[in-house]
Point group: C2
Chain length 235, copies 2
Amino acid sequence: MNLLLLEEADFIAADRVILRDRRLVHMQDVHRAAVGDNLRVGRIGGLMGNAQLQRLEAHEAELQVSFDLPPPAKLPLTLLLALPRPKMLRRVLQTVAAMGVPKVVLVNSYRVEKSFWQTPFLEPEAIREQLILGLEQARDTVLPEIIIEKRFKPFVEDRLPAMTEGTLGLIGHPGDHPACPRGLDTPVTLAIGPEGGWIPYEVDLLSKAGMQPVQLGARILRVETAVTALLARLF
Amino acid sequence: MNLLLLEEADFIAADRVILRDRRLVHMQDVHRAAVGDNLRVGRIGGLMGNAQLQRLEAHEAELQVSFDLPPPAKLPLTLLLALPRPKMLRRVLQTVAAMGVPKVVLVNSYRVEKSFWQTPFLEPEAIREQLILGLEQARDTVLPEIIIEKRFKPFVEDRLPAMTEGTLGLIGHPGDHPACPRGLDTPVTLAIGPEGGWIPYEVDLLSKAGMQPVQLGARILRVETAVTALLARLF
């Protein structure tokens, strides 16, 4: 946790917050904070700034806070991601939040196991929890938007064309394709497939929606690694 | 597992192997392989090729194998990594093996907790297990070399200069430094610090050994994500 993220419910006044949950435990156990210490804080969806610890007890802490710093810029990106297996989903959500992806569409694919859609990690609160961990890691305050699309074809045919319009549409896909471009500053829509990759029918439909396949080399990467590698290459 | 990696001990003839361990379980449970099926195989440290399943029983499988394909090229890189916490160490070892890093030096740093050096995950067999998982994921056969340096100063002063000679020496380090370069094809020595970063004294010593700080932006990434992002940016 490199940034203590504050929710609206934490505030007891415009410049005072009370913490009681895992953030209190983290302050005590990891930061070993003492009264008078300064900590980096951010307001979810708002500015970042400084907190001074005013009172620290076993069950709660009170901090005086001020905010002056905007969060870092997001990437100009919409990430279309075939739903990963539940354990990987949690890590990927942290990673996309940490790397500054503003919008993620979790989509079905032929190679996504049906059971993955039943995971409790897709509940809004569970998604938010992982995104918060990513923001705390990277020092950002703005939650990415996560959209869930359980049906591939209607999403790609009816809604994806409007998303890709005005952006460079890329499909991360192993094979004999152009190399993934580097150091872009244009908006991108990037589709990353499941373990085993998109099937040809899916690549066709994505192509009709304005996206083209690019590759990162012969190595097959786990989804989390592929997401990070593609983003680091693109921007 | 995208490649079934074979050890010398698996061979009962030049073109026949018997499998009994987790690889057998994986063939049965994930690949749901049947007699006559073809599987991608690799010989640790050697070529990749094809296996045909000849016999499949509950406790063992027999395969006929042939080898014709060289493994993918490694990156022209030596990675100097402050020892991560044990759980992260395991994932990082998989990631560096998957991404094609040929040589990793795990080094001490002021911000590495002393207890991390006690982890059983640093035993040679435990390291090898994680590297194998990374090679199986990416389809590679050649184990990276892992060097353990428990003392920072003698390593950096006495042995690092010979490693950085003829390479571009870079320190991944947040702050007001040049951006990490992109798309290199020259050999690189890259140092990645612990959570919290290298301390100034360490950056000084690394600089004297021929390395210069570069940054990836304002976001603070977990070690595993930083490794992947820096490698994807550099090569």
